[in-house]
Symmetry: none
Subunit: 236 residues, 2 copies
DNA sequence: TTAGCATTTAACCTTACATTAACAAAAATG
DNA sequence: CATTTTTGTTAATGTAAGGTTAAATGCTAA
């Protein structure tokens, strides 16, 4: 892994603070593009690829959150850090919804900022695409997070899954619209294929069906003597 | 990241065995400091930074476990490997409590030692630097200052945290919204993974939950059989 | 030494999970 | 079409994990 200078987009309207921060980051081996407001920030964002965006929240013309939303539309991955005034606690949460990786109260300790930047870069570097996607499945209106063992319906309600429920649903999702052989689940999840484990599996199929009822387009069909099939119906 | 020679502190009283081992390690690109007993070992430890300590358990003046305890007081991170006589099974466990990363029965296969050393170094290398240096966390409306061990609610009320409370919360915050495996906390904080330490950890989880109740958006969720998850809910 | 902590251990309770049982329904089979 | 096999579903059971509180222990500093 070759060490390369990381590019940071800094959007901060206060000229004094902005310049100081920029210089500090450059001193610490980052390549910094400084924009003085949200509009300019977005223009610069479109023109280059950045490894990190640091956005002030309070800015004329276009505030940090709005800018973040626009950036997210273009690029879902780039880490975003917000700079906020100490007072605004609630807005901070709003920031998280936009997908902030972190935020800092002004004034802040520059060392802390540096640490956070490093931590974020590190995280991004190690979380390979394969890594994070392996556990995420879209099942109709549901999202299955197989690592944390929960099923989200339509971005809202969260259903906790037991280990067996989770593994079974994951296996079904892996074979979406296709046959998931009984035997496969039994050997992979139950590690044994006999009458009782088979009945146990049926019990789990029933549980999953109950959860999935929330979305009428999603169903688990049985293929007699063969296994099951997770289908997502397209017609309404 | 530049490859650099790793420093090993070897504390072993048997002059023959010690010298052979030292030479063997040097042959394998390690920088080795050899001490002949626990007293000397501690003196040398204080004078330098080591990447690994290899301690014989049976030694005159100061045994390996006692030395390890002293080393731990100075430095909680440095990996420790014990060399034990084949017989002592029980003592080995005692060693784990001190926070041993591994142990080896004498006589042992030098290849095995080398492998273990490599594995330990690797493990430490991936425990990111950023992680170990991060001490400030925003947890919903709370601010955790992990260095000074206190939790501030909404800029006002300050809650003092005990060392264990602090470390546990810090570990949870480091894994915010993600799984913090039980085992991780037990090995990192309690340095031992058994029924009682596990129950102790549960007690601390309860304490943290009590503190965190001030902000209803913050909760510690359990993932049965896996660990805990610190989540900050965005919706109100 | 004691007072004041932090931490562990203990006890007891609740919840979560997986399996098994029991019975109903559907599908296959001859 | 009667019978067997497979599947659907719900409930009961046993065990393990976690939650909570209090008491016991250990530690440290006055």
């Amino acid at each position: 892994m070759t060490e390369q200078q990381k590019k940071i987009l800094l959007v901060e309207d206060d000229p004094n603070f902005g310049t100081i921060l920029k210089d500090y980051l450059i001193m610490n081996e980052y390549e910094v593009t400084h924009a003085k407001n949200g509009m300019e920030g977005f223009e610069k964002f479109k023109k280059d690829d950045f490894d990190l965006c640091i956005l002030d929240v309070m800015m004329p013309y276009k505030d940090g959150f709005t800018l973040a939303k626009e950036i997210r539309e273009k690029n879902t991955d780039v880490p975003i850090v917000f700079l906020t005034a100490k007072a605004m606690k609630e807005d901070v949460l709003k920031g998280y919804k936009v997908g902030a990786d972190d935020y800092l109260n002004k004034p802040f300790d520059s060392e802390v900022l540096l640490m956070k930047i490093k931590a974020i870069m590190q995280r991004k570097a190690t979380e390979t695409v394969a890594d994070s996607k392996q556990f995420q499945f879209k099942i109709g209106k549901f999202d299955l997070n197989s690592k944390l063992r929960f099923l989200t319906y339509d971005g809202g309600e969260q259903i906790k899954l037991s280990p067996k429920e989770n593994e079974l649903l994951r296996l079904l999702a892996l074979h979406e619209n296709d046959l998931m052989p009984r035997e496969l689940a039994l050997t992979k999840i139950w590690r044994d294929d006999n009458y009782f484990t088979s009945r146990s599996m049926d019990v789990y199929i029933a549980k999953l069906r109950k959860y999935l009822k929330l979305d009428p387009k999603v169903e688990i069909l049985n293929i007699h003597g063969e296994g099951f099939r997770l289908v997502i119906n397209s017609e309404s």
